[in-house]
Amino acid sequence: MVTLVLPRLVSFEGSGRRAASVTERNINTLRSMYWVVLVSGFLEPVLYLFSIGVGVGGLIGDIALPDGRLVGYAEFVAPAMLAASAMTGALSETTFNFFGKMKFMRLYEGILATPVRPIEIALGELAWAMVRGVLYSSAFLVIMVAMGLTTPGRALAMLPAAVLIGFAFGALGMTISTLIRSWQEFDLIFSGQFALFLFSGTFVPATAYPQWLRWVIEVTPLYRSVDLARALSLGPVGWTQALDVLYLVALLGLGLTVAGRRMTGMLCK
């Protein structure tokens, strides 16, 4: 079904069509064992939600939001898990998989012999990372609503936010992939990603840290993402969230530009 609908939705002549053909190629690979990857990507945030949100949350009890309201710990953690899973999904597709396709499968060399251009490959891969991301996010939001952690209306507002978060991290991941030289360096990315996951106001409000660390934390992309998702889930939404959106859009634009340039430099020597 997705094979039929998606490419048609983005079927502009030229660039859009060519980028969609790259996305379509990825959809075709789904017929193999790829669904295993998809299932694991969905399970991860759910496991965190249950073990930490519900399990550890039972010990912690309620937690105070910046405006003084008290919410259950699971309610506090759930939107952060949504943001984090959007990040993880986008990064795993655009770092590990993207790097492998570029360097080892030499997939893009073949594609570049066709009318498709490097920036269109980047766009197509990013769109694919988003297809994955939307699947994860939707499933997770359904669980949040079912557990009473947010309302259906708020969940609907969080879905486009999750898509934006995924797009921004996808573009970032792609840029990193074009800069990286070996598989070993991926360990660094994973460490960085894990540090973001732990400290971006996900499990503990950023106000719990010393002032200087708060500054560092508040400029990281996952903090901005968590802030956006949490505000949409628990309220209130204000100017800070407009800043979050702007930040993520800028990251997306920058990442995509750099990645497209670097790919042209590497593959079209």
């Binding site: 069509r17 060519r18 053909s21 790259v22 379509e24 190629r25 075709n28 690979t29 193999s32 499968m105 030499r106 997939l107 060399e109 073949g110 594609i111 570049l112 012999a113 066709t114 009318p115 498709v116 251009r117 593959l267 079209c268 020597k269």
Partner: protein
């Protein structure tokens, strides 16, 4: 003249290294054109420039009347590329490799499926259509790569060393398919360092060495110009072949002493052998053969190993 590929003073530099040092090439519609040369001669760099994936550093390059710097996607839509190393999609089946690739050209799904079936038939892989790429033999992968290069019904097919690494059966099958393409009017441009391949397939070729073109013409014309009609290979039992070169003086147009044998480039091989016997030199073995493109190639590019 209908020149599909037109290059004048074409240059490709990578930093300080000059891969292609100013070449002039014209490829006409319907011909099979070859780039010959040892490793590092600049063949692949030239092919990548023609394939519009590598911008020329300097010079004029026109493909199908268009400028690769500006019209890359438009030109690539009409090219078929078979790279030196197979870069098939290992996550897809044999058939999907063709139909998915067709989609990159914007070919409708139905047509893509139909064409995939036809091409699998053309390269004799129909029975392996639903197999993954990985278990295929080298020859099968090469055939699939060639089929993939044809999926957009290209006007020009670029083949970078199409049969390197294949066993003789697979090579002959590939040659036969390429010959059929040529008969259908497809323009073929190929690189090779196999002389028999060039003689089999090419109407016209250029010999490249060190980024330059050192000779140009049909295989026959090149042999006539740079070699003699026949070659006599003499092997003497002695440790060194060198002392015999003096005794063979005046025989033939050119003489080449190799560590293990002496080559005499002559018009009439049998007459030369008779003369060798008259001078009562007794070689351990004698071979008279026709001059080949390999003789031309080694004469022009030298016997020194280039890596």
């Amino acid at each position: 003249m209908d020149s599909l590929i037109h290059a004048r003073g074409l240059v490709k530099r990578f930093g300080d290294f000059t891969a292609v040092a100013g070449i002039d090439v014209d490829v006409r519609r319907g011909e099979a054109f070859g780039f010959l040369g040892p490793n590092g001669a600049g063949k692949s760099s030239t092919m990548r420039m023609i394939g519009c994936v590598s911008p020329p550093t300097d010079g004029v390059l026109q493909i199908l009347g268009m400028d690769p710097r500006r019209d890359g996607p438009k030109i690539r839509a009409k090219l078929g590329v078979c790279p030196q190393l197979d870069n098939l999609d290992i996550e897809l089946t044999v058939r999907e490799n063709l139909s998915t690739y067709a989609r990159f050209f914007g070919i409708p799904r139905k047509v893509a499926r139909q064409r995939a079936a036809e091409l699998l038939d053309f390269v004799q892989l129909s029975e392996r259509g639903d197999s993954k790429v990985e278990p295929l033999s080298g020859g099968m992968k090469r055939r699939l790569t060639i089929a993939r290069a044809l999926v957009n019904e290209p006007e020009i097919v670029l083949l970078d060393e199409p049969t390197t690494g294949l066993d003789p059966q697979a090579r002959h099958l590939v040659w036969e398919r390429l010959f059929r393409l040529k008969q259908q009017g497809v323009t073929l441009v190929l690189t090779t360092h196999y002389m028999d391949e060039a003689e089999q397939l090419c109407d016209r070729l250029v010999v490249m060495d060190g980024g330059r073109i050192v000779a140009e013409g049909s295989p026959r014309a090149l042999i006539e110009q740079y070699s003699t009609r026949e070659v006599v290979e003499l092997r003497f039992a002695a440790e060194s072949q060198e002392p015999y070169s003096e005794k063979l003086a005046g025989l033939g147009e050119r003489l080449e002493v190799l560590p293990d044998r002496i080559l005499l480039y002559v018009f009439d091989g049998d007459a030369a052998v008779a003369e060798v016997q008259r001078r009562s030199l007794a070689p351990a073995s004698v071979l008279v053969r026709r001059s080949s493109l390999e003789d031309v190639f080694l004469h022009l590019t030298g016997r020194t190993l280039v890596d």
